[in-house]
Amino acid sequence: MIRLASAASFALVLVLSLGTMCAVALRADFVAGIEASDWAALKFTITQALFSSVFSCVLAVPVARAIARRRFPGRSFLITILGAPFILPTIVAITGLLSIYGPAGLLGRVASFAGFAAPQVYGLPGVVLAHVFLNLPLATRLVLQGWLAIPSERLQTAASLGFRPFDLFVHVEWPMLRQVLPGAHVVIFLVCLSSFAVALIMGGGPRATTVELAIYQSFMFEFDLGRAARLALLQFILGIIAAVVAWRLVLPADFGAGLDRPPERWDSQGLGHKLLDWLVIAAVSTFLLLPMAMVIVDGLDAIGQLPTSVFEAALRSVLVSLASVLLMLLLALPIAIAVSRTSLASAALAEGVGLLMISASPMVLGLGLYLLVFPYLDPVMLALAVTALVNAATSLPFALRALIPALREIEANFGPLADSLNVTGVARFRMLVFPRARRSMGFAMGLTAALSMGDLGVIVLFGSTDSPTLPLMLYRLMGAYRIEQAGSAALLLLLLSLFLFWLFDRGGRVNAAT
């Protein structure tokens, strides 16, 4: 039963990733070769991803160090906030960033008041800025984990040897960074490679067009399926190469075991170091929180006067999001249960599924599905269903990451007992797996719900004109320059995404004490 279900899940994932890729490859038009503007898009895609990942990682080092070295009220809040951009709808983040760095933003107004020219945000700077905003938190968390993994015994030894901060950096911290940073760098590079919404809004024209955006333009503006498919194939190859590199680069950290004592920092007690850390913490908090505060402030004004069409779009998005959650469970649970009962070989297979879905880009998926489905069904009618399915599939790697370890533990601890009592099938799930895996299931469901709620990917390709989702509606309001309504729609989207995440994540924890 489980075997069959997990095979079906695998098959669906394969159809979604490799099937769409085949459809795209068959349709790709190479008669004109790879055009100059294709190369420009490819070059820009790699350039911005490189800049974005390097900046995110370099900035993450002082931030993670400051958080690791200091104890302060709000520290755990800051660490929680570092997880938020992951579930933050990209288009909401962009709205917030534009209200600060945009032509009419806070920074521009301050600059013009002081007599300087307003900074130009559109193009490479804007794209990199948005990517750093979205990925610095992820980089910081990864690096912070590295820092916290340094056993306190090490720091004790270092202190007894009279290490100064510089010595500590050279002998303890740098080796840790050398292990952690390449992985963080490649993960962020991979995420930025398939960037769409950021380039769509912050790009400012042909000089900052990612391959994803070029696919969208070829399809939506010119209906040039041959070119769109050619670009999609390029994007797919790019994603696969980067994913393979990522897979090889993620190294295990090895510091020897410690006794998990809370680390105490005998170094860095000097005033200069303290000042530096506080400055870094203040700067990163401002950088991350101010745009979100602006979304709330700008959105509050007109939220009561939003047209009903926006609320209809919101309802549609919530339903799509719930459907994504359901589909994700149907896909992830069989795989996770099957993997947790078997050897490491199938675990590698699950990792492979994860990589396939991470490197599959929304535009390639969307275009491939359009090509596959169009001859038989109306893609516009399927837009919402496809959005739910694609988001379920793209959330799969994160869901598996959360579920597999939990299920493995359950199997290891209670599997033999359940076997001896002959508790199998649905009863085993209901009585054993569900109660114990609830926490990670809740987290995975919350993540999927939030990602799906804020998705501005495949929906833009064949989202119908009269029944858009909330992110698509928000993009259209921005396009029609209804700035106030767009601001309020952004706030609504922010609240709904966070609420859905909270609801599921919380639901997984209720009665956790019993």
Partner: protein
């Protein structure tokens, strides 16, 4: 909760049933046409009074993206009429074989002769850069002067927007094979390229840029609707490119008679009288009431430029590739 759901479904079913005896005519158009200050509401009211039908405007992006939208939806499209293409797109649109003849004849007041059997003109105008006299005392008077200045502009993407495509052909019409180098020089003046006209014009009004690509008739809006005399179109010595906006019926329409009535309505006084003060363009046929005051002081181009629709289709791909390459740098 369940009963609420059932009630909602029932209610939705009833409304569908109630409006079932009122035929629906679906018209795909661009964003600014359907805004409350655009022509949409007045046109809808006037036509629905006469037709006993439900006229439904669907905003499907800017003019040029409209054509792609129809192609994406293919024969299943729910559009009965498309309103918002222009002569630079009609050859490409005709090639899709998706449009049917309009069968309307009228005494047009267009600056060019009209004999297109598929596409019906509804208004026209000249592209121009609009500026604010308080912020820009002496605007550039040619593409060369604009490129030399540090005047910031926002333009629209020629792939999605008809003004964007118009500018592409304007530069090409003036500068011929030198167009690519003109774009290279212009690229540092361009703050951003928007997908549609509305966003670009909004950025100009919020003073994010010095000039915006729009029409010689745009200042009439500020003058008539707002009593604001500070918005002007920059007259270019090399002349201005013209736009004739058109509508057409889809072959696949399930409301062919209604669609025909709507196309006839477009040529009527009622529709044409609404155009100048809502779409802020010259009407394709001057209605009995004439043009509103304020339209007589607008920039009159020294030279009026336009490619035939066949030429425009031939030039477009080359011009677009030049534009993409120049602005990719």
């Amino acid at each position: 909760m369940k009963s609420f759901f059932i009630a909602t479904v029932l209610a939705a079913g009833c409304t569908a049933f109630a409006s079932a005896d009122q035929p629906v005519l679906t018209v795909y158009t661009y964003d600014s046409f359907v805004t409350e200050w655009g022509p949409g509401p007045a046109v809808e009211g006037a036509f629905e009074d006469a037709c006993e039908c439900d006229l439904k405007f669907v905003a499907a992006g800017d003019g040029a993206a409209l054509l792609a939208r129809i192609q994406i939806e293919g024969e299943r499209t729910r559009a009965d009429v498309v309103l918002g293409l222009d002569t630079n797109l009609t050859a490409r649109a005709a090639a899709t074989q998706m449009f049917a003849p309009h069968g309307v004849s009228a005494d047009w007041d267009l600056p060019i002769g009209w004999d297109d059997p598929l596409f019906l003109p509804y208004d026209w105008g000249y592209f121009a850069f609009v500026y604010d006299t308080r912020r820009l005392a002496s605007p550039p008077d040619s593409f060369g002067a604009l490129a030399q200045s540090n005047t910031s502009i926002v333009i629209q993407d020629p792939r999605s927007s008809t003004p964007g495509l118009g500018l592409l052909l304007w530069v090409r019409h003036v500068h011929g094979d030198e167009a690519a180098s003109v774009w290279k020089e212009l690229s540092d003046n361009i703050v951003t390229v928007t997908a549609g006209w509305s966003e670009a014009y909004g950025m100009f009004l919020d003073e994010h840029v010095d000039m915006v690509l729009s029409y010689t008739t745009s200042p009439a809006y500020h003058l008539i609707a707002e009593g604001d005399e500070t918005k002007k179109a920059a007259a270019f010595v090399e002349g201005h490119y013209m736009q004739v906006e058109v509508a057409a019926k889809l072959k696949t329409t399930d409301q062919p008679e209604l669609a025909d009535r709507f196309l006839e309505f477009i040529a009527s006084d009622e529709f044409q009288a609404v155009i100048p003060t809502t779409n802020w363009m010259y009407p394709a046929r001057i209605p009995a009431v004439g043009l509103p005051a304020g339209f007589d002081n607008l920039v009159q181009p020294s030279t009026s430029r336009l490619y035939s629709s066949r030429e425009a289709a031939e030039i477009r791909d080359v011009a677009l590739a030049e534009w993409l390459e120049a602005l990719s740098k």
